[in-house]
């Protein structure tokens, strides 16, 4: 049953991505004047504008432009940067891996820590530890990512302690894993941004499971509290938290933009901000489409996880 549902979801995801590609492409058409004048500015000579128009294929019909663009992207050719004339793929390849590194580090810390804190809050429900964790989660969940990042910089890189770099000190084209301390604060910011949601969900579902009969049974059988919590309650409570985790990873695709900019961390988000300020549309479009693909993929994953773990949903759609 759910295999058909899975295929349907995947098809819907692909359809959505195709429509997204139309929107991303349409952004080019939204340029007042056209891309060439927007990039070169009003003072550019007509010859230069004409040359750039040729290079960007702006003289061809819109449909041809779209087919060329999407065809290129599907075959790995992300286009040519309007600002530096380099191939976009070459331009952002180091940045992509830097961002992947940052996000993976953040996820590897955030997931176990927040699951653990969620369990702790549930086990010590309505006691001081629970109140502290829950209040901190509520406050953190409402803060913008740049506020959290600036607080980290004030605490660890400038005013209070000076143990970490306030901005990344990577040379151009240098991969982030060669200078590991450059990733600590950006990763910490991402961890603080995604954890509250995972903690809250883990706490909520753990509280529910701890009140269930089989947990009482396990306790009555005389099992140690540790075994009751980790072997009996946790596996049954973790599923909703996994779904939220997938959604939080999806959030990171947007969250890295501001966090990377604060720490001047040379990742894909920083590349996007630079491209927006120079109005380098080919780069912006490639990054946007990439981010949307990752975002849709992770949301789909969260969807599928929810379906798989909710018996009612699994059987509802015939």
């Amino acid at each position: 049953m759910w295999r058909r549902l899975l295929v349907r979801r995947l098809a819907l995801g692909l359809l959505t991505l195709w429509l997204v590609s139309l929107v991303v492409f349409a952004a080019t058409l939204a340029l007042p004047g056209d891309a060439a004048t927007a990039i070169l500015g009003k003072q550019a000579t007509p010859e230069r504008v004409q040359a750039l128009r040729e290079q960007l294929h702006l003289n061809e019909p819109v449909t041809t432009q779209y087919v060329n663009w999407i065809g290129g992207i599907l075959t790995g050719d992300l286009g040519t940067s309007a600002a530096t004339q380099q191939p976009v793929a070459e331009l952002i390849s180091t940045q992509i891996w830097n961002t992947v590194f940052l996000v993976v580090v953040a996820a590897l810390i955030a997931i176990p820590v927040s699951l653990g804190l969620g369990v702790l809050a549930a086990v010590r429900r309505d006691r001081t530890v629970d109140h502290v964790i829950s209040t901190a989660a509520l406050v953190l969940a409402s803060l913008p990512e740049f506020v959290v990042s600036i607080i980290l910089i004030l605490l660890f890189a400038t005013t209070v302690l000076q143990v970490l770099p306030a901005v990344s000190m990577l040379g151009p084209g240098q991969p982030a894993w060669e200078v590991p301390q450059s990733v600590i604060l950006p990763a910490a910011a991402l961890v603080l941004m995604v954890s509250p949601y995972i903690i809250r969900m883990m706490r909520g579902s753990m509280v529910e499971v701890l009140e269930s009969e089989y947990v009482t049974m396990a306790r009555l059988k005389g099992l140690s509290e540790r075994a009751v919590i980790w072997r009996h309650a946790f596996p049954n409570a973790v599923a909703p938290a996994i779904q939220v985790t997938a959604l939080q990873l999806a959030w990171m695709t947007g969250g890295v933009v501001v966090v990377e900019f604060v720490f001047r961390y040379p990742g894909i988000g920083q590349a996007l901000v630079e491209a927006v300020s120079t109005r380098d549309l080919p780069v912006v479009q490639a990054v946007t489409l990439l981010a949307a693909a990752v975002y849709v993929g992770l949301n789909l994953l969260a969807d599928i996880v929810t379906t798989l773990i909710t018996p009612k949903l699994r059987t509802a759609e015939q």
């Binding site: 991505l17 007042p32 695709t253 501001v258 900019f261 975002y295 949301n299």
Partner: protein, 297 residues
């Protein structure tokens, strides 16, 4: 905390539910967290609105050497260009508040309209509206805003509209979810039977019955609006220099944070407090709404 004295049998009729929003807000205000949230929000709004009238200097006036520390005349010192930090802070809050409020109202209104139409229209209209929402939902919000800023340029109206566009599909889903149940109820059939116009059924019968999720959405979207608008402005795509603006102030002074932290600390604290405040209020409203909904079921 929440007034539970009204018996379940005194279930309000659809007509009485028109005042539901007032009841929810009244109950929300009784919660401590809502009060703290309201106090914080009121404090920040006061700074933003009254600030320009009490600022000692003009926000663009050069009053001393760059990055000088606090002194008798410049209470929080000067910024990276030598302008008075306090004055720029007092002037810099209006735009983020106005833009965020506008984006919230437009986005939630559009979302409510789409959500109600989808729930009531069913079939093809529902399908078309929800697929269109899916496309907008496929963009991480900030990236969607940046895509359009890259195409059109940093314009304030564009930020309001794009932020609103990121809210609309999310609100639409929530409102549709709540309205689908209402559409099935008898009083809607009754209204249709007596030939009530469709738009009157939508606004007069269905809308008052999705008040709880609507109020929560307003609060939630306001928080996200502030986060997005301030974030865009921090990236340098909002108000342009030399205008004073909290997000932009952080951007301009971040590199001199070691010598002159105040120019970063003040706007960062204001934006952080504001979002914590709006989120506390939203949390209070959500709790009050759950209390009232349980009672009337």
């Amino acid at each position: 905390m929440i007034d539970q004295t009204v018996a379940a049998s005194e279930r309000p009729s659809p007509a009485l539910r028109r005042w539901l929003w007032l009841e929810i807000l009244r109950n929300a205000v009784r919660l401590t967290r809502t009060r703290i949230g309201l106090a914080i929000v009121a404090f920040i709004i006061l700074i933003a609105l009254a600030g320009p009238f009490v600022a000692p200097y003009s926000p663009t006036e050069f009053v001393g050497p760059p990055n000088s520390g606090p002194s008798g005349e410049e209470v929080f010192g000067t910024d990276a260009l030598g302008r008075d930090v306090l004055s720029r802070f007092l002037y810099g809050g209006r735009t983020v508040l106005v833009l965020s409020a506008a984006a919230t109202v437009i986005g939630v209104a559009a979302g409510v309209a789409v959500g109600l139409l989808a729930a009531y229209g069913r079939n093809w209209l529902d399908e078309v509206l929800m697929r269109a929402s899916d496309v907008l939902l496929a963009f991480p919000p900030i990236i969607f805003v940046l895509l359009l800023v890259a195409a059109v340029g940093p314009r304030l109206w564009l930020i309001v509209l794009t932020v609103a566009a990121t809210h609309a599909p999310r609100t639409a889903r929530v409102i549709r979810g709540a309205a689908v149940e209402v559409v099935e109820r008898d009083f809607i059939r009754a209204a249709e039977a007596v030939g009530e116009k469709h738009w009157r059924i939508l606004l007069g019968e269905i809308l008052p019955n999705v008040t709880s999720p609507l109020l929560v959405e307003l609060g939630l979207r306001m928080t996200y609006s502030i986060i997005l608008v301030a974030g865009i402005s921090f990236l340098g795509f909002g108000l342009q220099p030399p205008t004073a603006d909290w997000g932009l102030m952080i951007n301009e002074n971040q590199l001199s944070i070691t010598v002159q932290p105040w120019a970063v600390v003040l706007p960062t604290a204001a934006i952080g407090l504001l979002t914590v405040g709006t989120n506390l209020v939203t949390d209070g409203i959500a709790r009050a709404a759950i209390g009232i909904d349980r009672r009337t079921e």
